[in-house]
Amino acid sequence: MEQDMQDFADEARRFLNAHATKAPDRAALTWGVGDDSTAYFSSLPPEQEHEQVRRAREWQRIRYENGFGWITGPVEYGGRGLTFVHDLLYDAVESEYEVADTGVIGVVGLGMIGPTILAHAQPHLKDRWLPAMYRGDAIACQLFSEPGAGSDLASVSTRAVRQDDGDWLLNGQKVWTSVAQHSGIGLALTRTDPDAPKHRGITAFLVPMDTPGVEVRPLRQMTGGTDFNEVFLTDVRIPDDHRLGEVDGGWTVALTTLMNERATVGSEGAGPVAAALSPDHLSALMRATWTWDDRALRARLAELLVDVLATRHLNARALQGLRAGVAPGPEMSVSKLLHGQNLTRAAHFVSEVLGPRIIADTGQWGTYAWTELLLATPALRILGGTEEIMKNILAERVLGLPREPVTTAAKEVRP
């Protein structure tokens, strides 16, 4: 096993040496040099965003063609058939190189939809879509949330009605849909039995986004960017073989996605926000702003770093558990909660270090740029299940506390 891992790491290094350049040492951060973006969500103009998506697809294709695009996937669907530990090892090696940010493909599509398709789709759908997704050709989105069903996803009301020829006709509106504007497919939760208890009347479908009747409209969020979209489904005809799981059994499918979502959102990852949580970066910021020896700020910095570093230890131990074969459970909600809280505290800490320099742009490097993270923080307490929902999950599923009693209104849909 040890030797096998060493060989795999060597192979990864050879691949990366041939196709990418080494990243500069992160410890050697110099204030005022390089990109000062702190964006959690993208707010690029459309042409730049398209260029970024193109680079992401290209890097994903190169990875895939060299055997690093889907390390844990089954060989029959184009995967490499290796373990989760190989996957982690590859990520560790890749983090030493400068490569395109593949978040647009990875976070939702490969992180959440891919595993769901693998677990619940018919073989022909797996053949058709999995290699395409992992090759970067088909970006995927999650058609779950609706204006009337956010964290309470079991309240979806988009209807799917069976036609005489066996096809389904979908009508409704989805919202807060990340990457829908780039997606080739979407995983939709629909209501197929309005009379059943609300968790039981749901069916999941894989929707090719070029199907007539699918309309994606950008939704501008408070950061100013348009990461999210509204997706309108008007008489969208979907064949029955695009159904995932049983008719009215879509909640099980949704749970697979949600488990993976919490695992994905909770992990810290790389990218611009990692800088916001790095001790080097934060201390460089204090030096640059002459707040270095402010005792109150130093104490706040220490408190923030305690949370960041302790969260890293928690994640490291969760990963050790996963390596030992323990399935990701509700504990992932702890990571997700902490990740959002840590970024929020970091943004507010930095804003106090910067003072007025964050309220208007002087053009100084690394100052006003922090508004990007600051404005993203309210979303971190909402996306992927609100903080309140996460706490309910922890209290009920981990600590075994009783559920909230069902109210009269809820009884009407949940007898």
Partner: protein, 371 residues
């Protein structure tokens, strides 16, 4: 040597089982009002039958050769049970100081007795300001002219200081802060118990009036030794705190499941539910950070000092939070003398400040990070 997962589980369950019978709430309440503040028969059993004092000492000194990971498991359990015993002072503070001093003669002289449970020991650093910074120590040690040394000064907050057979004391020489061993029977040494916020942890004020002392480690090396000891001690304390915090969480959730108000279990109210979830998050963080720090210590990883400071800060906050909210979840009953919640609150607050408190450990973290 590091035990396998299943061995750690066995260690935990045998220690827990022992403490459930020997350190029940009733036993703790009785001991916290007696002198000495522990039961010598139970201590002898813990050291004999369970070999708790020997566990993390090197085999050459009569120990079993395990390290911080195993010690951490035991400390989580002693913290959980508020075990009144010389364990923390003897096994964590004093024994680890002897090891950190690198003085093989002192180790050979004192550690076998500690491992066997014959010797209890204390570490006297802080004075009336409570600081553990050796640079701020005012007690002095002088050569007595016959090749020996004598110590003069006063130490406070000495855990188990009235009962320890051996006292390790930091005193200033011309070379700087240095470490000395003093026998409890030595002439000129008086020990008086201090009133303590946490009645389950005995503390003393020691007065040294020209007390004969033996140097431990190099003259002037006290600063270096104490830096190492503080890292180890803060991880040991963090494990104890994590165990106590977990116990508060367990008690709260159990109560929230069974206590009915307004016609339903209080745990079904979201306000209570979320309080418990917040406690869980803190407890998980405290356990992860103290266990990870212990693992890094055992592997002599250079990341250990940072991890130690993180564990100390994280577990201090988690325990105080859990102990405070535990009382809140219990409502009025939680604020009575009869309910054990206040014992944990006292321990949590006292532990948070034992080694100097947030202002000190935050600066230590920044220092260890090179900031």
């Amino acid at each position: 040597m590091t035990a396998e997962e299943h061995e750690l589980r066995e260690l935990r369950s045998s220690v827990r089982e022992f403490l459930e019978t020997k350190s029940s709430e009733e036993a703790v309440r009785k001991l916290m009002e007696s002198e000495p503040r522990f039961d010598p028969a139970v201590w002898a059993q813990a050291c004999g039958q369970l070999r708790l004092a020997a566990l993390a000492l090197p085999e050459e000194y009569g120990g079993d050769g395990f390290g911080m990971v195993e010690l951490g498991v035991v400390l989580e359990e002693t913290g959980r049970a508020l075990f009144c015993s010389p364990f923390f002072a003897t096994v964590v503070l004093a024994a680890q100081t002897l090891l950190a001093s690198g003085d093989a003669r002192a180790c050979a002289r004192h550690l076998p007795g500690i491992a066997a449970g014959r010797t209890t020991a204390a570490l006297a650093v802080a004075e009336d300001d409570g600081s553990w910074d050796p640079a701020l120590v005012s007690a002095r040690a002088l050569p007595d002219g016959d090749g020996g040394w004598t110590v003069r000064g006063r130490k406070s907050f000495v855990v188990d200081g009235t009962t320890a057979d051996l006292v390790l004391v930091v005193a200033r020489t011309v070379a700087g802060p240095s470490l000395f061993a003093v026998d409890r029977e030595a002439t000129g040494l008086t020990a008086e118990p201090m009133d303590t916020l946490d009645a389950t942890r005995a503390m003393a004020r020691l007065t040294f009036d020209a007390v004969p002392a033996t140097p431990v480690g190099a003259d002037g090396a006290g600063g270096r030794v104490m830096a190492k000891v503080l890292d180890i001690a803060s991880v040991g304390l963090a494990a104890e705190q994590a165990g106590g915090a977990r116990r508060c969480l367990d008690t709260s959730t159990e109560y929230a499941r069974t206590r009915h108000q307004f016609g339903r279990p209080i745990g079904s109210f979201q306000a209570v539910k979320h309080k418990c979830a917040d406690m869980l998050v803190q407890v998980e963080l405290a356990e992860a950070s103290s266990r990870e720090a212990a693992r890094l210590a055992a592997e002599h990883d250079p990341a250990f000092p940072v991890a130690a400071a993180v564990a100390h800060a994280c577990a201090s906050r988690a325990y105080l939070y859990a102990a405070t909210e535990n009382i809140q979840v219990h409502g009025g009953i939680g604020f009575t003398w009869e309910h054990p919640a206040h014992l944990y609150f006292r321990r949590a607050k006292s532990s948070q400040l034992l080694l100097g408190g947030p202002a000190v450990y935050h600066e230590r973290l920044l220092d260890r990070l090179g900031i």
